[in-house]
């Protein structure tokens, strides 16, 4: 297997003081991702999922171990990645299409040619927005869009510079169930069409199983990888898949890992089973 993303024994403490005390946000992460793989990372809050994202984008350097992406060790912010978060954080004074264009005003090689090729880039942004069902809303302001539409635009912004890797930090967490499922499909189709890598951080197990090729379960602080589960359901997956017993069995199995790590902390008190 040719590894595209390669984490080898990665530990991270957020500062020197914590490092001396031996407090790590994540411990001993080792994983590999092949080109075009869709990975989901699930775990309880505070399990270092966001730390994992910072390591992958080069916003944080590991305290120990190494991160290699596309054959080169990560030494700084990685432009081949695009990011989107739970909050769409679109700029309210820019129209939707201008929001999507923002990365091109910053990242090279687009930056230097932005003024000259603006029309071309704008056409590209409009096409991308149309492909996620935002046709007709390109010139609206973000605050005129619904939450789900804003999140679609946010994902377009993450993809406009054609990154090889898309990092999503609980991107659908604030949406209602139906909108969330619509966006699952939008993301599924985008990834199928363009073949970029995705790292999706989530605490929705159904979301992880529906979308990902591989699901990693992480433990609560310090973050460690507890389990790796390949989802070998055929693609393209339809939403109907989520109602099959096969799908439910996988979700249930993953839930078991998370439930297992809760027990020691709640010993003696009634075990909370929230699902």
């Amino acid at each position: 297997m040719d590894a595209y993303v390669d984490f080898q024994g990665v530990w991270l403490a957020y500062n020197d003081e914590l490092l001396k005390q031996g407090h790590f946000a994540v411990e001993d992460l080792s994983l590999t991702m092949r080109q075009g793989e869709f990975v989901a990372i699930v775990g309880p809050s505070g399990c270092g999922k966001s730390t994992f994202m910072k390591l992958t984008t080069g916003l944080k350097m590991p305290s120990k171990g190494s991160v290699t992406i596309a054959g080169a060790p990560v030494t700084g912010p990685l432009k081949i990645t695009g990011m989107a978060f739970q909050a769409p954080s679109l700029l309210p004074w820019r129209t939707t299409v201008d929001n999507v264009l923002l990365p091109l005003e910053i990242v090279e090689p687009y930056r230097s040619s932005f003024k000259a090729k603006r029309a071309e880039y704008e056409a590209k942004a409009r096409a991308l927005l149309q492909s996620v069902g935002l046709g007709g809303y390109e010139d609206k302001f973000p605050w005129q869009l619904s939450g789900g539409m804003q999140q679609r635009a946010s994902i377009c912004r993450a993809l406009i510079h054609e990154p090889q890797m898309l990092l999503l930090d609980e991107p659908f967490g604030a949406l209602d169930a139906f909108t969330r499922e619509e966006l699952w499909c939008a993301l599924r189709d985008l990834q199928a069409a363009r073949g970029f890598n995705v790292i999706l951080v989530t605490h929705d197990l159904r979301e992880a199983v529906f979308l990902a090729d591989t699901v990693y379960v992480m433990s609560k602080s310090p973050g460690r990888i507890l389990a790796r589960r390949e989802i070998d359901m055929p693609r393209p997956r339809d939403l109907e898949v989520t109602y099959t017993s096969e799908f439910t069995a996988v979700v249930h199995e993953l839930r078991g890992h998370i439930g297992a790590l809760r027990k020691p902390t709640t010993l003696g008190t009634p075990v909370e089973i929230a699902q």
Binding site: K54, T57, G58, L59, P77, L78, K79, T81, G82, M83, A84, F85, A87, P88, S89, L91, P92, W93, L102, P103, E105, I106, V107, E108, F141, W143, L145, S146, G147, Q150, R157, A158, H161, D169
Partner: protein, 258 residues
């Protein structure tokens, strides 16, 4: 867009209230025969304003341009200082406490010093207007810059954005509503600064007019001066209010689906 009756009423409400106050004022002055040297009636004030209108206009013009010069300096300095404070943690820590202490000083206390440095006239008035009005501008720009979402900053930093890119593309536009909001406050303060300074350190301007009218017991004229300063400040306030609404529509949206 057809304005509803209540909206119409709202619009004319300040004028209605003003009229009511004037009528009551006039009624009291007439009914109790109040001496015009104690408390002139609106009619008497209007009479004196008409009588001395060339004089008043001259002083008003002086106060207006002096205020605008001081205010312009306040905008430049306020924006630069706010930019500095808002864009660097270190500068924020170093400057902010001193700024707060400075802002607590009564600006009128600077006038004698300014007179020593610049003499009687335009200098002290411009600088007092500046000193009194730059603080709210600085604070508002700094606040706008300092309240960036960390996530958006991550999104841009991954793309290789420099601190400067983030400030210019996100920070500055974001602080614009704060900026225009602060201009409305600052312009009224600038008029206070100019007028106070002219009262002790000038031979021209509304402040000077107030003092000289008071000392010659021309109370109608003194009140006329107050009316003119108030009117000028209000017009400028409304002007910046309109500019604010025009340029930052996005910050005044009715509903927000975040």
């Amino acid at each position: 867009m057809s304005a509803s009756p209540s909206k119409h009423l709202e619009r004319w409400a300040p004028w209605g209230l003003l009229l009511l106050v004037i009528v009551i004022w006039q009624a009291i002055c007439s009914a109790f025969n109040v001496s015009e040297y104690i408390f002139p009636s609106p009619a008497r004030i209007a009479e004196q304003m008409a009588e001395f209108h060339t004089e008043i206009l001259k002083h008003a013009w002086r106060t207006l341009w002096v205020t605008m010069v001081g205010f312009a300096i306040a905008i430049v300095v306020g924006v630069l200082l706010g930019f500095l404070i808002g864009s660097s943690r270190m500068a924020y820590a170093a400057i902010y406490p001193l700024m707060t202490a400075f802002n607590a000083l009564p600006k009128a206390a600077f006038i004698p010093i300014l007179v020593v440095w610049f003499g009687i006239g335009v200098g002290p008035a411009v600088l007092t207007a500046f000193l009194i009005s730059f603080f709210p501008i600085t604070v508002n720009i700094a606040t706008g810059l300092a309240t960036l979402e960390p996530e958006l900053e991550d999104v841009l930093r991954v793309l290789g954005a420099k601190r400067w890119d983030v400030l210019v593309k996100v920070g500055l536009p974001r602080s614009m509503p704060y900026f225009y909001g602060s201009l409305k406050v600052a312009i009224t303060l600038a008029f206070v600064g100019t007028t106070v300074s002219e009262m002790t350190a000038s031979n021209e301007g509304i402040g000077y007019l107030l003092i000289s009218a008071g000392s010659s017991m021309q109370m109608g004229l003194a009140f006329g001066g107050l009316v003119v300063v108030g009117a000028m400040a209000m017009v400028m306030y409304e002007l910046f209010s309109v500019i604010e609404k025009r340029t930052t529509v996005w910050a005044h949206r009715g509903s927000q689906g975040h």
